[in-house]
Amino acid sequence: MRKYHYRLLSIVLFVALFLVICMSLSAGQYNLDFIQVVAWCLHKVGIPFLTDINVTEQQEAVLMFIRSPRTAVGLMVGAGLAASGAVLQGLFSNPLADPGIIGVSSGATFGAVVAIIIGINSTSLIGLPISAFIGAVVAVSLTIGLATRHGRIPVLTLLLAGVVVGMLFSALTAAMLTIMDDHKVQQYLFWTIGSLDYRRWEHVLMGVVPISLGIIIMLMMARHLNILALGEAEAKAVGMNVTRYRLLLLAVATMTTASGVCITGSIGFVGLIIPHMMRMLVGPNHRHLLPASMVGGAVFLVFCDSVGRMLLTNSEINVGIMTAILGTPYFLYLLRKNMDIR
């Protein structure tokens, strides 16, 4: 028999969240001590602790306008990606599903390339994100359209359609790249490896509404997701309108992921690994799994970003690279471990 320690786990997750936020705020080329950041954070939320430690005006500016928005974007996108991943895995009752698999990433990348070619990314801050968002939505709609037959969406067909659409959009992106100028290819590369660098409060504002809305809807749908995860036949037997809920949850997960990816560029593994990891800790019930994945995703992404900034002295490693480097071994470990059990 297994008992999950929800309370202990939530305390651990929130402590980790706080530590990771402070770590992210203190990491980087401009010098800030960890303890200074801890004090600053506590003072900001009105806790009079470590009152003798303060920050200079310049440090305050760095914290407020460079590091805070960057950390906020990381938290937001990490939470959104992991929650969407958990939703998609439940929705398809397939533990290997992630937001990339239904075409979100390839669609967003294509949208980004189009924006770079037209040049709207240099004239407006929101040009590229909007174009990437549209690309993602178009790709997912195409996937769903291809997979729907007689008002039903069979899971396997949907996953295969996702692969096909993904390949189509990758091909289109590749075609665009061959006709692009070198400096534009550079911009594309910069975008395609997800990064939190130079993200400002405007980026946070752009994403905060759709991502929080998406997460709230997902949390409200947790009970329905539990039924969907039992498989189509079971869901129908207890009277669920499977197609309606699948479409709704797909739309919400797409919106949330696309809103994240269009701000940061594509970041892999968060949506795959975090729900997996959390399922081992809190079990498959989505009422616990979704909140845990959210916090876990935020912690993981910001942690990866901070480590990426601390490893090299005069440069940084993009967060997309870090998530893959830290994520792959863990995922392999999970696979091996599961193989041992069965």
Partner: protein, 284 residues
Amino acid sequence: MEKILSASNITTGYDKNIVITDASFDVGSGEFVGIIGKNGAGKSTLLKSLRGFLPLEKGSISLFDKDIRSYSQRELAVQIAYLQQQVEMTFDYTARDMVMAGRYPYMKWWEQSSDRDQEIIDACMKYTGVMELADTPIKAMSGGQRQRVYLAKVLAQQTHVLFLDEPASGLDLFYQEEIFRFCQEMCRYGKTVIMVVHELNLAARYCSRLMLLKEGTIIADGKPAEVLTDSLLTQAYGVDIRSLVNKETGHVDIFTVPAPDDGHKKELIETIIGDIHHGKDGKN
């Protein structure tokens, strides 16, 4: 007896592949109906079409004198619980999570489970004897335990009608009989059970009525004693079958009579056994 479910001249199947042709019957409250027939006779298909999972080519099905197609999915789930033949689970849900699914049709989309739901779930799990397994993942259970959890789930749906597709297959003798006993008891309290059965001996003892299917047609429908005759069974299963009343137990025993040996068999068996056991290759 109150009429609950009635099928008139239904013809149905998967896409263009017609499996059931022209089936008609009425089922009343408190009946324990066993659907029997050999593999591929269309037993599960009949059950699925009665639940409204398959489109009807011809005919109609009515539940409480109302066409089944006029019910919404949720309304149907409150009237009929359906236990499929094989539940495939990807995630490690616990018994309680599974039984909770039975309460789904009673909740509005925004509602969470109430204390009353919990009470019903507990009662169902206690009744089928899986309360101690409430927090155990279903994957970690034996077949018999699992089937009892699923039974608790369909009971938690609190429906008039229970559809069970081979709930006893692959279980130990004791568990098989227990499932029949649960169903019999439920029927005494006015529920209606329609079950696809393979275990003819148990069907003979527990079901109040049997329907015998052959190639998608109901060839007999009535009390077990009327249906389980040598000639009907032989016709339906395509092999020589005898049914006898065991004088000691009073139960019906059903068994097949092997086809006469046509001489080919010996040759085949020699090929299968091979040479090694005769020591011809010298190693033995």
